[in-house]
Amino acid sequence: MDKRVALFIPCFVDQMQPQIGLDTVTVLRRLGYKVEYPEDQTCCGQPGFNTGQWDAARPCAERFVKVFRDCEQIVCPSGSCTSMVRTHYPELLKDSTLRDEAVALGKRTFELSEFLVRIAGVSDVGAEFNHSVTYHPSCHATRELGIYEEPLTLLSRVKGLDLRLMKDASECCGFGGMFSTKFGMISSAMGETKVANIESTGAEYVTAVDPSCLMHLDGVLRFKNHTPKAIHIASILAQEAR
């Protein structure tokens, strides 16, 4: 049987961090997957849902269900967007005719590291990254989807990678979607607390499964010229071992 997956690329990754999408493709193809990208996809609706604008979110969610309804397995390089589909669609679409389909879809939509370890059964993706790295367990991946061991498993099998754990790892980085702009001062103070924990590991890189957290952390790190760099896990895993 063909190994086949459909990509769910979050809207801001599509627009602002396309490399994370490309790296996701690289990793999946290296493992022998035929990768499809349903080009009709736009946004899962999370921004509206989190802001209380359910009338804006619902059509996005219904559209998402229709775009991906024929896909057997869906992989997404974001824990938060995966959790939107799996954890929150049932509530958002509770009065929709598409509710049952959304529940079923949530069960076959996977965050990248979750897919690799739990579904594909892979722990060594054949990557090499000769740097010290600390892992930030992003909130929705960790607490809503229960993903924690999976990324650590993958990272620990990357050749040359020096994995370092940080203090208070599961504390929020401060992004929180619109929270980061509505309450920029609180968001950045939370970011600074996180940065202090990242820096005290001495790691060159901080990685996570969520591009949005990393976009925020990247901004906070460079704002005050901190040394560590933010990098998505897909971009580490995409570096092929020589």
């Binding site: 690329i9 809207c11 990754v13 599509d14 627009q15 602002m16 961090q17 396309p18 490399q19 999408g21 490309l22 990208y37 080009e39 996809q41 736009t42 946004c43 609706g45 921004p47 509206g48 849902f49 989190n50 802001t51 209380g52 604008q53 009338d55 804006a56 059509p59 996005c60 559209r63 909130c139 607490r143 809503e144 599961s170 504390e171 929020c172 401060g174 992004f175 929180g176 979607g177 619109m178 929270f179 980061s180 702009t181 509505k182 309450f183 920029g184 001062m185 609180i186 968001s187 950045s188 103070a189 939370m190 970011g191 607390t193 925020h216 990247d218 901004g219 906070v220 790190l221 460079r222």
Partner: protein, 471 residues
């Protein structure tokens, strides 16, 4: 935007940037985290204890009316009085009447958030009475003329030096030294006089035990027992949601509350009170009143989606775990209940128009859900409040238009791609000619605190097409 919302933004900006505050709170929270982690290991199965606590509290809430009636019957049978107060004013009036009828001059209080909620002390003081908080932390914030910073540890934002200076200024004769122990002794000397002179003691309640008809009170300083047994009158002020079905339920709730509150196996003084002094007893009040405060709680009860909020046992765990609370501190919220539980409850109690902003002041990290001992999904309630805020038309017009536009664009992949492309093009152009990111309007809220991200020329969609051909 409400006045409170604007004040919140200003205060939050100040506190977030206050590094001394941040480190004081961090130090206290770190020691709390350590104590709680250790405390949880004393349970054979912590998760089972949480589940059981949630179950017991739910049972209490589902049978609220009948359990409260059982409780009331028992109290009255022992010669106590039970008053059902519909709102703050009603509760205040009843208590003021009791005090005036008895010619009360001095009132001592043990810690109670409900008395803060109904603004009781100012009402008593207005009638010429002297009111003393007897919990050490509460006394400290009272002397500073501040509201409590935290629902369990009201003075956690202060250092020993600040408290020493406060005592030297306010109660100098009682201060005999500067060590922690000496400062505690100073407060004790001061409070003993208050206890002996008070005619009325006011306490809260941690639980109302229906089958036993008892009020359960937990304190660590013994002040609860002195407040409830020395003065001639004892008034319990409590929210109606504190009722639990059975005495044996305390077997799980007491240790769970102590563990999530402070990491203790059980609170030092765990007291059960059922009425006034009986004929054969030497201690205890002659008059005993229980004031059951509704003040919006039956509205929460009526809303099936949000009634689980009434399970809250006010342990403070969600405040302690909340990264927002850790940055902005308890006073910034300007609400009786700060932190996640307050951000969930206040908009329901006092309206989303006034307090809706608190439901937005959250990154939805869900850490609070993971620590709540009665398993309230706090973040779901913040989301629900946000939905109500929008439904009631309180969202900014620009946001409404923004989301309407976003929705329209997102209904077509072509439109979505076009607007993304155009946005990036403008952004790249602006940055290329050296325009300050602050000039970029709405984007300034991002770039004020963060370096600008590199804006890619091509979207993923475009790159995918280049690599894989157009379908």
């Amino acid at each position: 935007m409400s006045q409170l919302s604007e004040e919140f933004l200003v205060a939050a900006a100040q506190k977030s940037a206050d590094l001394t505050h941040r480190s004081t709170i961090k130090r206290n929270m770190d020691s709390y985290d350590t104590a709680v982690a250790k405390g949880q290991t004393r349970f054979a199965d912590w998760e089972a204890a949480r589940a059981r606590s949630a179950q017991v509290k739910s049972e209490g809430i589902r049978n609220l009316a009948s359990l409260l009636e059982t409780f009331e019957t028992k109290i009255i049978a022992r010669g106590g009085h039970v008053y059902w107060a519909e709102n703050s004013e009603d509760a205040r009036q009843y208590i003021c009447d009791v005090a005036q009828r008895n010619n009360v001059k001095t009132v001592v209080k043990s810690k109670s958030m409900v008395t803060e909620e109904i603004h009781l002390s100012p009402a008593l003081e207005k009638l010429g009475m002297t009111v003393w908080e007897t919990d050490l932390g509460e006394l400290i914030v009272q002397l500073r003329k501040e509201p409590p910073y935290h629902i369990v540890t009201p003075a956690m934002h202060l250092t020993r030096e600040q408290i020493r200076d406060l005592f030297l200024e306010k109660i100098p004769d009682d201060v005999h030294g500067e060590t922690h122990q000496e400062l505690v002794s100073a407060a004790r000397r001061f409070l003993r006089r208050a206890f002996f002179s008070a005619e009325m003691g006011i306490s809260g309640a941690n639980f109302l035990v229906a089958d036993a008809g008892m009020v359960a009170i937990s304190t660590n300083e013994g002040n609860g027992r002195l407040t409830t047994s020395l003065p001639r009158i004892h008034v319990v002020v409590t929210g109606i949601e504190k009722v639990i079905p059975r005495l044996e339920d305390l077997g799980v709730l007491w240790p769970v509350l102590a563990t999530t509150g402070t990491g203790q196996p059980i609170t030092t003084y765990s007291t059960l009170i059922g009425g006034p002094k009986t004929a054969d007893e030497i201690d205890g009040p002659e008059e005993f009143h229980v004031v059951l405060v509704d003040n919006g709680r039956t509205e929460v009860l009526a809303d099936e989606a949000q009634q689980e909020l009434l399970r809250c046992i006010r342990c403070g765990a969600c405040l302690n775990k909340c990264p927002v609370y850790r940055q902005v501190g308890g006073h910034t919220y300007k609400s009786i209940y700060p932190g996640p539980i307050g951000s969930a409850l206040m908009p329901i109690f006092d309206g989303v128009k006034e307090y809706g902003h608190l439901s937005y002041a959250c990154s939805l990290c869900t850490a609070c859900n993971s620590v709540c001992p009665v398993k309230i999904k706090l973040s779901d309630h913040l989301l629900e409040n946000r939905r109500k805020y929008v439904a009631e038309g309180d969202a900014r017009l620009s946001e409404k238009i923004g989301f309407a536009g976003f929705r329209w664009a997102a209904m077509s992949a072509k439109r979505f791609a076009f607007f993304g492309w155009a946005g990036r093009k403008v952004l790249r152009g602006a940055l290329a000619i050296g325009l300050s990111p602050h000039a970029l309007g709405p984007l300034a809220t991002w770039t004020k605190y963060r370096a600008v991200a590199a804006v890619p020329k091509d979207s993923f969609r475009a790159l995918w097409r280049k690599q894989n051909g157009t379908h």
